[in-house]
């Protein structure tokens, strides 16, 4: 079968010494930033991006992807031991993980979480191997009209799923689109919104936006609130990690359910791993015979969300690589990083770059196995990292943000831009405007403009093209459905005015 030769091709690439070495670097850095609360995978990718310019693109991609899924493994450690999520995707794990730690079962919790992460990730990789080529083959029939519609649908889905005010999220998407227009227009060469300012001719730097809105804004909000940290958790012994038969039996079905849910949600455009974890937790609570155990150290409450976030992160590569459409802001950032490397993901990607695609997929296996080794025997090392106080951590993070942003273009203005976006990001979350949609809009905006123009050129200026082509019509119908779904809540909120004091989350 064709699949096997492709997989073999992939492993051949992924097992070469350079790919192995950088896969190892990637997952180690990923685990490290995942363990540390307040340092997300995005910051780590931004930092490593300039380094990867000097690598073979396949190896670079393997390393950057490794940071992403590696962070999912590490993030549960802080949730369980300190009740502080390492990244937002394991916020749910706190609910039952921390009570388990208080009952002296931290070792078991950490072990089970790593195992289910591995299982969830592995199943999702298999699904990805099976379905990505099919999706890409299907997408080869897409014309610009379909691309425009699927991107619009993805943006709408991301907005309607998000918590808080739908209107504010939508406004942020449009702000992202607006930022995407800054710079030289690819079609006509006209400079737009540069104010005659030279550093803006290439557009606003993606890394500066991401690091400002998420990195610097987070630091501004966290400094001085770090008193709770620094409590050294006890060391975890191997003996304490051995789960009972009961634990394993209770975890099998939740792991599978979490994996399924995660893979499904991750594969959809517009929804990411964070949503998957919350849904997996809610689902477990619903099917449980005794839902009152949740929140008091139920093992189902940690294995299902952790399986879900790992499978969602792996599955999210499917739309990103086969369609070129990211599921959430994190993937949007990775997509942007790939484009900086000159790799254009999309249906042609699999056909044109089989070694790169299958090498990446094979590296997921290798990475997940490496993560198992890193996380179970070496858990003590990661636990000790948690003891680093924030007052030492944040200056280092600021420096890493500086060097990461600066060394993309060696442009001083980008460092200033980070500061500006940091201040904006800090202020807007206080008023309930979420920053994640900005990133999605920014990455998708220029592509949407291009496809929109091309679709109209194809149809000689008739908008009919968007509903006369069947696939495009279906996507349009889904988009309209999403709008209708959100409309009722929006209209009532606009009429009466909402009083809720909402601080938007900096979640992805």
């Amino acid at each position: 079968m064709d699949l096997f030769s492709n997989v073999a091709l992939g492993f051949e690439r992924a097992l070469s010494p350079d790919a192995l070495l950088f896969c190892f670097f990637g997952v180690t850095i990923g685990t490290f930033v995942g363990v540390l609360p307040g340092v997300g995978a995005m910051a780590a990718v931004a930092l490593c991006l300039p380094i990867t310019f000097y690598l073979d693109p396949t190896v670079a991609l393997i390393m950057l992807a490794g940071i992403f899924y590696g962070a999912q493994y590490g993030s549960s450690t802080a949730s369980i031991l300190l009740n502080i999520p390492g990244t937002v995707t394991s916020a749910v794990t706190c609910l039952d993980g921390y009570p388990m730690a208080q009952q002296g079962r931290a070792g078991v919790a950490l072990f089970m979480v790593t195992m289910t992460s591995f299982i969830g990730g592995s199943i999702a990789i298999v699904l990805m191997m099976l379905f990505t080529p099919a999706v890409a083959a299907f997408a080869l029939q897409f014309s610009s009209a379909e691309y425009f519609m699927i991107m619009a649908m993805g943006l709408l889905a991301a907005v309607t799923i998000s918590q808080g005010s739908v209107l504010k999220s939508l406004l942020m998407v449009v702000v992202g689109l607006a930022l995407g227009t800054v710079g030289t227009d690819s079609g006509s060469g006209v400079m737009r919104f540069t104010f005659g300012f030279l550093p803006l001719t290439d557009g606003v730097s993606l890394v500066a936006i991401a690091m400002g809105l998420f990195g610097v804004a987070e630091i501004l909000a966290s400094i001085g609130r770090s008193e709770g940290r620094g409590a050294t958790p006890k060391n975890i012994t191997f003996r304490s990690m051995v789960p009972t038969k009961e634990d394993i039996r209770a975890s099998v079905m939740p792991t599978l359910r979490g994996t399924g849910l995660g893979a499904l949600i991750g594969a959809l455009p517009g929804s990411g791993a964070t949503v998957a974890t919350f849904m997996a937790y809610a689902a477990e609570k619903k099917v449980a015979k005794d839902p009152t155990r949740f929140g008091k150290g139920a093992i189902e409450g940690i294995v299902a969300p952790e399986a879900a976030n790992n499978s969602a992160v792996q599955a999210a590569f499917m739309p990103t690589l086969s369609l070129g459409i990211p599921g959430d802001a994190l993937m949007a950032f990775l997509l942007g990083a790939m484009m900086i490397h000159g790799i254009v993901p999309g249906p042609r990607f699999l056909v044109d770059q089989p070694v790169m695609f299958w090498g990446l997929v094979a590296s997921f296996w290798i990475g997940n196995i490496l993560l198992l080794v890193l996380n179970i025997p070496l858990i003590g090392v990661w636990v000790r990292i948690l003891a680093i106080p924030y007052r030492i951590l944040y200056p280092a993070m600021l420096f890493f943000i500086c060097i990461g942003v600066f060394s993309i273009n060696y442009q001083v203005f980008d460092v200033v831009a980070v500061l500006i976006f940091g201040a904006i990001g800090f202020a807007m979350t206080k008023f309930g405007y979420p920053p994640a949609p900005i990133l999605l809009g920014f990455v998708l905006g220029p592509m949407m403009e291009e496809h929109f123009g091309r679709a109209l050129l194809m149809s000689r200026g008739s908008f009919n093209i968007f509903w006369q082509r069947p696939i495009s019509a279906v996507l349009l119908a889904i988009s309209l459905g999403l709008i209708l779904y959100a409309l009722k809540g929006v209209v009532s909120r606009v009429r009466t005015g909402s009083v809720a004091v909402e601080e938007a989350s900096r979640d992805l």
Binding site: L171, P395, L398, A423, Y433, L456
Partner: protein, 153 residues
């Protein structure tokens, strides 16, 4: 819903102000994009998409303005010390990285940003900044050979 009654009639100036900022950005975009050429519907010009975005921004910000008019959100307490220090740290990096090189820039960003929290010891700041400057030099210049100067000569 006691909170609801309390806010009735009260208009949240801050929230409306934020929405107004987005409205103005949209209005500016819409105006400016007409200068770039809208083009025709068959062959859209460089101003077409920005014009749509500008109009969308204006419309959405008005809707958001209506939604939040009675909001109880307070303007954030701006932590001046933190923002000023982090700002100074980042700007010092921006200023020094070309003039002084990576090592002084690294030292500056770390040493300055440590002042954001009161009570951080100067000695630790110095050591931390020196260590990371050394690591930065080893990793980025010696290791990955990024085209950056280590020092000013």
């Amino acid at each position: 819903m006691t909170e609801h009654t309390r806010s009735r009639g009260g208009v949240n100036v801050w929230e409306l102000g934020v929405a107004a900022v987005f409205f103005l950005i949209g209005a500016y975009m819409a105006y400016e994009s007409t200068q770039y050429g809208i083009g025709t519907i068959t062959r859209i010009g460089p101003g077409f998409f920005p014009l749509c975005i500008g109009v969308l921004l204006m419309g959405l910000s008005v809707a958001v303005g209506f939604e939040v008019r009675h909001s109880l959100a307070e303007p954030p307490a701006i932590p001046l010390r933190i923002i000023a220090t982090v700002g100074a740290a980042l700007l010092s990096f921006a200023l020094l990285v070309n003039l002084g090189g990576l090592v002084p820039a690294t030292f500056a960003v770390i040493f300055i940003s440590r002042f954001a929290e009161p009570g951080n010891s100067l000695r630790t700041s110095f050591l931390l900044a020196a260590c990371l400057a050394l690591i930065a030099w080893l990793v980025f210049i010696v290791g990955f050979k990024l085209p950056l100067k280590a020092l000013w000569w």
